[in-house]
Amino acid sequence: MDILNALVALANFVIVPGLAYGAQLAIGALGVTLIYGILRFSNFAHGDTMAFGTAMTIIATNMLLAIGITFGPLPTALLALPFGIGMTILLVLGIDWLVYKFYRDQKAKPVILVIVSMGVMFVMNGVVRFIIGVNDIRFADGERFIITARDFKTMTGLNEGLAIKTTQAITVVVAVIVVAILFWFLNKTRTGKSMRAFSDNEDLALLSGINPDWVVKVTWMIVAALATTAGVLYGLDKSFKAFTYFQLLLPIFAAAIVGGLGNPIGAIAGGFVIAFSEVTITYAWKKVLVYLMPESLEPDGLVQLLSTDYKFAVSFAILIIVLLFKPTGLFKGQSV
């Protein structure tokens, strides 16, 4: 019984939140890794692309709610998501045409593009705040829980409850669908294969007649869709705040680099590695240990390795360790 209680506590506070957070990071990291693989630079504006997409989705959600449309038990934001994705696609294609295209034509070094993307990041940062403001915005509606802690307790008779939020379940389901579609696209379609070829050997791809402009456009469109989806899922699960999304850049980059930049499978694995490291290291383990240890050994403190305020230190530490010992990441990726 004690072991079961410990497991339920673990699932409630570590596994379920970790899975949801990992899925959000994974979708974000997929966007970063695609840009790195195909356009060959680290896109620092990715966090703010997510923020822009989410802001657009929030606006569309409010409009839908204003005319009385909801998605029943599911969050209305899911209905508004295609609008957010569309607006983000327009934005990134516009920025690419206005900014990145110039440097691409110059065949600029990646490091120059990275700095350029930081400039874009600051501009987008301001634009998003200008549009939606700097406050915390909660936009999740519909059913809050699939199963609440109390229901779980009465159902099983255990001391510990397991709560699963609707948004957590949606996050995981949407992530699986998104990843499946992305991999089908990259591995089975003509355009997807040409994107991989372009990422592998640009000159040979050009020689084979692959149109670089089209590859770049499709990449931006996919990245905009991924960024918006990741942003909306994160915002539904927690809340939307422009500054938080800017900060998400670090765990997302850590995920992409840990997995191996340019490698989509690596981005997904990296997302979960970072998410679970953050959650396990900042979790107060007392609750689980109480059930597992004999009474005499029960811990006095919270057994929390790091305060949650330091959670970014975790991704940063992992990032540095990976860069020191395995610069190409866990999966075969490009070195930074």
Partner: protein, 275 residues
């Protein structure tokens, strides 16, 4: 190349491979398609080419390279003689200031390399000539990217030509041995059903046994009727299989003849073949 502060050297470290107008594949300029077919002109000819990379000095000086239908033409010569440069000039990777390049009687001197691929030239670069992270089959598919028709027949022909590739069709091309990679590279170039195939040192860096096998395969490709123009380091073996051979020295034609003639030429033997 390096005077542009923005420049990056990615891909196969040879920017000239895509020369100017990288993305203009759809707009093959028809102005240059004036068909002033010359009688007795070889199928592919780089006629009295003079030129060099970018704004640099001329490397080729009135150099002529030609390939006839069903023949293997090889370019040999000492290091730095401009062998690869001559081939790249034929493929449009550098500026030909004087002279002309004609394919099947058509002047293609001002087309970009990609436009020449559309016109029916297949080119296998010396290095980075495959997509390492993609499977063998995907490499071949990418080779056929400009084709909108059904290319399964062509793929089957290539698998007949290189049986080992059929066994390894689902393996990543980067995991293959050097000789197998070269077969993938040649196969990729053949997927467009080119009218002429150009190989830049196909046997560089492979063992002598693999080299012999590659030469056998190249002869087989030539037997299917595709003229082959190739640059070779291994002068003796190359001359043995060559129908036509060009010895270049300092960007100029030094000796021209059939492979056998040049092998028998005492001067060629003394200067390039070690006696």
């Amino acid at each position: 190349m390096s005077d542009n502060p923005y420049q990056d050297d990615r891909g196969n470290k040879d920017r000239s491979i895509t020369n100017k107008g990288g993305s203009s594949l759809e707009t093959v300029d028809q102005r240059f398609g004036n068909s002033k077919a010359l009688i007795n002109d070889p199928f592919l000819i780089g006629d009295a080419m003079t030129g060099g990379y970018g704004k640099g000095p001329d490397i080729l000086h009135s150099c002529t390279i030609a390939a006839e239908k069903g023949e293997i033409a090889v370019i040999v010569g000492p290091n730095g003689a401009g062998k690869s440069t001559a081939m790249k000039a034929v493929f449009g990777m550098l500026n030909v200031n004087e002279g002309a390049v004609r394919l099947d009687g058509e002047d293609i001197t001002h087309l970009t390399p990609q436009q020449r691929v559309v016109k029916g030239m297949g080119f296998v670069p010396q290095t980075s000539n495959i997509f390492t992270s993609m499977t063998v089959e995907e490499n071949l598919e990418m080779g056929a990217f400009i084709r909108r028709d059904d290319f399964r027949d062509t793929m089957a022909q290539i698998y007949d030509l290189f049986p080992i590739l059929k066994d390894k069709r689902n393996q990543a091309a980067g995991e293959l041995s050097g000789g197998q990679r070269q077969q993938v590279a040649v196969g990729r170039a053949l997927m467009t059903q080119p009218k002429v195939l150009m190989l830049d040192e196909p046997t560089a860096g492979v063992s002598p046994i693999v080299m012999d096998e590659l030469f056998d395969r190249i002869i087989e490709v030539a037997r299917t009727g595709i003229p082959i123009l190739m640059v070779e380091q291994n002068a003796r073996q190359a001359l043995e299989i060559a129908d036509k051979a060009y010895v270049l020295v300092q960007g100029r034609n030094a000796h021209t003849g059939t492979g056998k003639e040049l092998l028998a030429d005492p001067e060629v033997r003394r200067s390039f073949l070690g006696g």
